[in-house]
Symmetry: C2
Subunit: 462 residues, 2 copies
């Protein structure tokens, strides 16, 4: 596997990987900033009790710190719960923030004792009491912008609503106390066939075959605003107030998404469930639809232990969670929130594979010029010149040798992708010029010292 | 304290603090990249055994993870040891890298059970077998560039060499096995008077009064290249081969620093010791010399528990550690290294205090324009326009309300420092224009939709 060459070890990232990561981060941060987001930071540890009861079955993956007689601490499992706690703690009722930071989870604890996983999450959230679906639509616009700009291939954004799911379960005859567990099973539809999902519902979770079949009909439905309208007329679905509220919001959401010109990528999909307990309204997930990239993503999951609760091909997900902040407020004050998490680790893996497949080398520095010498005993002159360049903001390197060979200086440039070389020699010093060499073409031209900086900028800051 | 207003809690950072941090990071990263550095990342946990025996007395501050039956893990204490391990593990013999990441230390464990501290370190290191003092000089140039650009006030960079200290101890009659402990005491000279330091040497560490007095004479010496030359002639000092090697390198270092035009800020100071065990050659530390900022820095230490082993007013430090990588290589292969760590947490605190003292507000977003409406029922038109702006790369916000009041939209801009407002009304829509309002001057001008984007760029991307 080509990918192995780049990956030195789990959680170690070499300069080539970091260069790719930086590019991805920059694209995403640029988008978040374009939408007016601020950023905050929260500690890597939270009180164990803060995390308890927020992640459903996944709580077993929380990593605890050694009990040293003080507070019991755990490593943060995601960025959403710390965000909610931050809002409650500081009584913040309105904020649009992004947060890019590492989270920590235990590897399947039964199988690999004590091993852990460390990976980035990349979240954008809007908190505040606003008119319906406006911030929700912006979150989807953001996903659309980011996936377009990263150029990962074609994608779809699936949309659903927790209230539609719950309403559907109710009208299909699922007992109230089985909503969550049946929801988890529906969530597996992107990895399992309907037959297997139905088997799990009936055999493992004790649902009646009839109820399962009714669910089966609904979860096969996909569409747009028209589907939401049809379901609002559906004789069964329309009996659920919850489902109707969700369906009306989906309609409104599509109206706004039309104004954003992104409906070509968005599909209302009743099989989308998403695992986490805290969602209360609209939910969404972006998936790559091209076979090539999907298999790359699939692989990424095995290689770098990509993010939990992100299904095959999934590169972003999120939804509305109006109740979470209230759980941390002493008076239970609610702050409605909606957000999206970009599946950044999977995107890194795809970008790394693309880079490996491309004939173009990944540059790990942005150096514009190498300050070189053609003869011996010119270290002082090189130091003086490079100092001038640094002071003028030029990215420049020199070899840390008193008398490097010209050839090895030029070879270094070829390997590192440095486009220009400033060559100093006795004659050039006498003439007050520098020989500027273009590495790619081997063209050489004498430039006066006075014009050197502007010439470098002209040739490398296009 | 003004500073308290910004600090919500230890390890929580609000948008204002993050905006200041981002600015500082950008300045520093720009400098590291100008010098051709790549970046890497290493995991937040290391095997406990990796960290053992590298930090001398400070080892008690290492934070352990819960023993869950697998490997014993500790949180990284700094970025230097993980870097050295990374080089050895991947057999890398040449690299110039920066690494900005969080490290973790226990708070004085005897006093505050279980509490920990989390803070950024910001390191630049050059690894490789090179000609003497060239990379070392570049590290000092980098410190000079960063402190200049951050504009923290006047500063000095103190320079010394472990070999000069060891040679000095030897010729002053310090027994070999007391070098390290006497060195720790010398390290306290920036916080304690010579009298108290001498007392500790004699009474606590059992050094003879005569030896202490001889040390006292040397450690009061400060100068430049001239001092190194004088000490090379010093009848006692010149008896130590080690000291002479160090002094010759200091001479060479100053020669290179002269070519970089930075000697005005650099002082050869025989009292500079630095605590960590792994230094083998040149060491240095940058301190702010202005009373105001020094007291601010001092305060920062109490407030945010700034970095260990950084003395009062210190904002950067580092040195040469030629033996550390070899400790992680199975065959003990040496990779000489020199590096510098920027005292970023202290710099953040100083910048926050400066921001609080300044009449200018810190902006937490870069939003260029607010898309507003002057009448009711224009949400769709606002959504359409803002989508066009986002697609053109303009940073834009709108209020998440169907019918916001114009006044509250304008007030939002004033508070958030958004410079422009695009106001939509029935008339403007009819005329195919947007009323562009400059928030600061209240000037309003009609701009055609076709010209809007270039007009926004012209006015905000100066």
């Amino acid at each position: 596997m080509l990918n192995k060459k780049m990956t030195t070890n789990n959680n170690y990232y070499n300069p080539k990987q970091m260069a790719i990561r930086e590019k991805v981060f920059n694209t995403i941060i640029r988008c978040f900033k374009r939408h007016g987001a601020e950023t905050i930071d929260t500690p890597v540890f939270e009180l164990k009790e803060t995390l308890t009861g927020k992640y459903g079955e996944d709580s077993k993956l929380i990593y605890d710190l050694k009990d040293q007689g003080g507070e019991l601490l755990s490593l943060r499992y995601d960025l959403t719960v710390p965000f909610a706690r931050y809002l409650a703690m500081n009584k913040i009722t309105n904020i649009k923030r992004y947060h890019i930071a590492k989270v920590y989870r235990r590897d399947n604890p039964a199988m690999t004792r004590g091993r852990y996983r460390e990976f980035y999450q990349c979240d954008f959230d809007i908190a505040g009491q606003y008119d319906a679906m406006i911030p929700d639509a912006e979150c989807l616009k953001i996903v659309h912008e980011i996936l377009n700009e990263l150029d990962l291939g074609d994608f779809r954004i699936k949309v659903n609503d927790r209230r539609i799911l719950d309403g559907m379960f109710a009208v299909c005859g699922v007992p109230d106390d089985k909503f969550r567990t049946i929801c988890s099973t529906v969530d597996k539809l992107d990895k399992m066939s309907w037959e297997d999902v139905k088997k799990e519902m009936v055999n493992e979770k004790g649902l009646s075959e009839e109820a399962a079949d009714q669910i089966g009909e609904y979860v096969s439905m996909q569409g747009g605003m028209d589907l939401a309208e049809r379901l609002l007329q559906d004789h069964k679905m329309s009996q659920s107030k919850q489902a109707c509220a969700g369906l009306s919001d989906i309609k409104l959401l599509f109206k706004y998404l039309q104004l954003f010109h992104v409906t070509d990528k968005v599909v209302f999909d009743l099989s989308l469930a998403r695992g986490l307990d805290y969602y209360t309204g609209v939910i969404y997930e972006a998936v790559l639809t091209q076979a090539g990239t999907v298999s790359a993503a699939n692989e990424a999951q095995n290689d770098t232990n990509a993010e939990e609760s992100v299904s095959v091909g999934s590169v972003a997900g999120g939804g509305r969670y109006d109740g979470l902040v209230g759980m941390f407020d002493p008076k239970g004050r609610r702050v409605p929130c909606v957000g999206v998490s970009i599946g950044i680790e999977r995107i890194f893996s795809i970008m790394e594979q693309k880079a490996e497949a491309s004939p173009q080398k990944v540059r790990t520095t942005e150096v514009q010029i190498m300050v070189a010498s053609a003869q011996k005993n010119l270290l002082e002159e090189r130091l003086q010149l490079i100092s001038e360049l640094w002071n003028a903001g030029i990215k420049a390197e020199l070899m840390y040798k008193k008398n490097p060979k010209l050839l090895s200086q030029l070879q270094y440039c070829e390997e590192a992708g440095i486009p220009l070389v400033a060559i100093l020699g006795e004659q050039e010093l006498k003439d007050g010029v520098v020989k500027l060499r273009v590495v790619a073409t081997r063209e050489e031209v004498d430039i006066s010292r006075a014009d050197l900086i502007s010439e470098i900028k002209r040739r490398t800051e296009a």
